[in-house]
């Protein structure tokens, strides 16, 4: 790892001051992606601003939504009574991220800000009509993810919390890569009074995306049979050593069927 500076402020306003004092600083959340990236010398920030002391790790019931602080760890979401009661699919998703040690350190905000195309959380944000609250504004999920590893976050903008709308029912099913546990395809399906939302992760060249055809099919009939006649296009899907676009297209349909079964 290149030499770097480490600072741990006690509030988001101090964190912003700290990062502005650096030439090119990075916010450090759980570090499950950033630390390995630094170790491989794929990034060389002047400094790291650890935001784990900024009091961003609470979970609260907001009536029609569950609000989760950005620094809440995956293990805390998985074990949360509030989340398990209101949105069990979200707790299930958190319980399947990485491995036990990743879940003990990795955070919601870190995962969502990074927007890894194979990460699980972005699919929940998109399917559950989430609102991403930052230090300056609130961003709707449909506006947040702008491409692979790209989001609407501006420079020096910190995610403070994310509000997930409570669905009438929901499920998350992924086909994990056997080695990394990252989703080769993950599908989050959420039913609301005004329709069904289907978000797909692990598959799109542009990162997480909603699947309009499956949303329409499931909105009229929330059943695996409703998907049987659908042709899932492989256009724009990732091709890598793990799977071809066609294979991923098939997995999208299969995971969605399992999610609503």
């Amino acid at each position: 790892m290149y030499s770097t500076k480490y600072i741990k402020p006690n509030s988001t306003s101090e964190a912003l001051e700290a990062i502005k004092s650096m030439g090119e600083g990075k916010f450090l959340a759980g570090g499950m992606t950033l630390i390995p990236t630094l170790k491989q010398r794929l990034a060389s920030p002047d400094g790291l601003v650890d935001i784990s002391g900024c009091d961003l790790d609470s979970i609260s019931d907001e009536g029609d939504a569950i609000k989760i602080g950005a620094m809440t760890k995956h293990a805390s979401v998985a074990e949360s009574g509030l989340v398990n009661k209101a949105i069990p699919a979200l707790a299930k998703l958190a319980d399947g991220i990485g491995d036990r040690q990743v879940r003990n350190r990795g955070t919601l905000g870190g995962s969502v800000a990074n927007n890894d195309p194979s990460a699980c959380y972005p699919s929940a944000v998109l399917a559950l009509k989430a609102i991403v609250h930052t230090n300056t504004r609130s961003i709707e999920a449909d506006e947040f993810f702008t491409g692979m590893f790209e989001t609407a976050l501006e420079e020096n903008e910190i995610i403070e919390a994310i509000s997930f709308s409570k669905p009438t029912r929901a499920n998350y099913v992924k086909f994990p890569n056997p080695a990394s546990r990252y989703a080769m395809v993950g599908v989050f399906v959420a039913q609301f009074n005004d329709g069904v939302r289907v978000a797909v992760t692990g598959a799109g060249e542009g990162g997480v995306f909603r699947h309009a055809e499956m949303e329409a099919a499931l909105s009229s009939n929330y059943n695996a049979d409703a998907l049987s006649a659908l042709e899932i296009s492989s256009e724009g899907l990732i091709s890598d050593l793990h799977a071809s676009p066609e294979y991923r297209a098939n997995l999208i349909k299969e995971m969605t069927k399992r999610a609503v079964a």
Binding site: Y6, Q40, A179
Partner: protein
């Protein structure tokens, strides 16, 4: 550089470390406890698993500075003198290792999952060990060891 203080196996340790020092290097090089291993150094293998404030973490994927003020337990902190921790004893009795390189991490992960779930099932043990890789035994005896350790720990 800067000073950090933390509790390691019950003892307060204060050292000057560089900001980019990894926690595992702090434990092995600065403190001199080499039971915590570095296998892959890429967060995959779990040979470096320790307990940080009661939960298992990979010490190769944290900066020492992130552990400021925390309580750490390593494999060296488990035994009571010559008396092994029940989980260590279970690995011994069930031949839960061959070369032993992954064992410290396995034992640390096992203790955390059993502490949180006294009546742990075989499926839960296998899921709980996803972050620990063994290249010798094929896991059968390791899973048996964790089961036996859970029973000894009061499961």
């Amino acid at each position: 550089m800067g000073e950090i203080s933390l509790k390691l196996n019950g003892k307060l340790e204060t050292r000057d470390v560089a900001d980019n020092t990894l926690l595992v290097d702090f434990i092995r090089e600065h403190i001199g406890l080499t039971g915590t291993h570095v296998g892959c150094d890429t967060s995959q293998c779990g040979a470096c698993v320790i307990h940080l404030d009661g939960v298992s973490v990979k010490a190769c994927t944290m900066l020492a500075k992130q552990a400021e003020g925390s309580e750490i337990v390593t494999i060296e902190g488990l035994a009571d003198g010559d008396e092994l921790h029940p989980m260590q004893q279970a690995f011994h009795e069930n031949h839960g290792l061959q070369c032993g390189f992954c064992t410290p991490g396995m034992v640390m992960s096992a203790i955390e999952m059993v502490t949180k779930n006294k009546n742990i099932s075989e499926d839960e043990i296998r899921k709980g060990l996803e972050g620990n890789i063994c290249r010798c035994t094929g896991y059968h005896n390791i899973v048996q060891s964790v089961k036996a350790g859970a029973a000894k720990m009061g499961g």
